[in-house]
Symmetry: C2
Subunit: 245 residues, 2 copies
DNA sequence: CCCTTTATAGTCAGAGTGACTATTAAGGGA
DNA sequence: TCCCTTAATAGTCACTCTGACTATAAAGGG
């Protein structure tokens, strides 16, 4: 404790939000990134986000920034499932000043191309490859993105969130591809089907003899997300090895 | 967007940390609470915590505040496993000003009684009963505490964290009581033992014919925490019912 | 010297899962 | 038009894990 230390003084911080929004496009996990229009890191790619305004909660700010910077449809942004990831507060993470950032994760189905707005000179879906995205990111956003990817992978194990990556009606093959893409592992189609259908409330069949084809092969039945939120028992990803089971 | 809106303005926020520190005392989950010495809520009970200083990360601040306000041994506080819970940022959660708070969770073995210090007029372990603690808490700390309790219960399922509630050497009965206390459910001693011992790296037997008694009954073998961090497959808590499995 | 209590061992049946094989229903070419 | 390839779907089998129990061992308290 320094001399003259006042236990009730407080440092003013800027508070921002950052969003790691994921989608699956043709078998590859993509993240929504923007190109920064302002310093610092002007011209670099970054997660969408920005300052929290005086009367906003972090989540409200996250939705506002997402809509402003990417031009995604407002009703879609309002309905989005946002989950708080964690808060990043290292003292030097922003060169301008003391900034703490509350990071969020969201999962969306394959959407139309976004377009830049607000502080964003551009907005685009870029692959969120295993080592990282194909471009360096501003601030500590690569770290945030890596944390978010890990969280999403873990959540697929014990929640029904995978359906958030799918359109309103989807085949079990599409759902399986979500798991395979996020986990980077192949799953046995028959076993996957058995597991999903055996979990009450995970998906429900679209009643009509509705079926559809993604190309060739036997047409698949269509399903909708069911009311269940959690998967008990979980659908564990194949462990690399060495780890128990 | 308002007229005159400046997208680069930012509101100054105060950033605080709050800690939900849990322990198990004689079969009851307890939380470390302090009695506030300052307004607002002076005299009320609250989670330990306080303002983040200019050059601190949230986690550093959490450790400092915990040591200051509760007098827990510094080396213990330094070694503590702190996990970020989430950040609370509702605009009116603090009547003084705009404050966002980063909440942390920690698990400790049964420790000596703490003593107030810093802003805390008093510090004490109080039961964190199911509906909530026996006293009303300041700010939104009851909400934070409830979130933390839920998180701890969930983490016991798929991590080896339960040993953090135990002294350096413990019996499987003590470890089982941790689960029973946090989950509020009874577990079969034999099945629990089988599961724990079958998970490589969860616990390791203390080699010497060391054994100990908590009172009556056959003496139990002693174990130490093992190197494993996660439990795969998980040790699922008994589901209330209705839920699958 | 019994009785109660807790630890520990062992059994059994059923659920859940990984690895496979077989069948069905399209689409694409030759 | 007739194979071939592809993907969905059905069904098997062995093995693991778990919940429910029974049995035995080793204290401490009357």
């Amino acid at each position: 404790m320094q001399p003259g230390y006042d236990p009730h003084a407080f440092t003013p911080f800027a508070v921002t939000v950052d969003l790691a929004v994921f989608t699956v496009r043709s078998g590859v996990l993509h993240t929504l990134l923007i190109r920064r229009g302002q310093e610092p890191y002007a011209g670099d790619w970054a997660l969408p986000g920005g300052f929290v305004l005086p009367r906003e909660s972090a989540e409200t700010a996250a939705r506002r920034e997402l809509a402003e910077e990417t031009g995604l449809a407002p009703d879609l942004v309002a309905a989005l499932h946002l989950e708080q990831l964690r808060t990043y507060s290292e003292p030097d993470r922003d060169p301008r000043m003391r900034v703490v950032s509350v990071a969020f994760t969201a999962l969306v189905p394959d959407l139309p191309e976004p377009h830049g707005g607000g502080d964003a000179a551009d907005a685009r879906w870029l692959p969120a490859g295993e080592p990282g995205p194909p471009v360096p990111l501003a601030f500590d956003h690569e770290r945030i993105l890596a944390d978010a990817r890990e969280r999403v992978g873990a959540k697929l194990e014990y929640t029904c969130l995978a359906t958030a990556f799918c359109p309103p009606e989807f085949t079990l093959g599409e759902l399986r591809q979500v798991y395979e893409t996020v986990w980077g592992a192949e799953l046995d189609p028959a076993n996957f089907r058995r597991k999903v259908l055996a979990t009450p409330g995970f998906v429900e069949a679209v009643p009509g003899a509705a079926r559809l084809t993604g190309g060739r092969g036997k047409p698949a039945a269509l399903y909708r997300p069911g009311p269940a939120g959690t998967l008990a028992p979980p659908l564990l990803r194949p462990r690399p090895e060495g780890t128990a089971r």
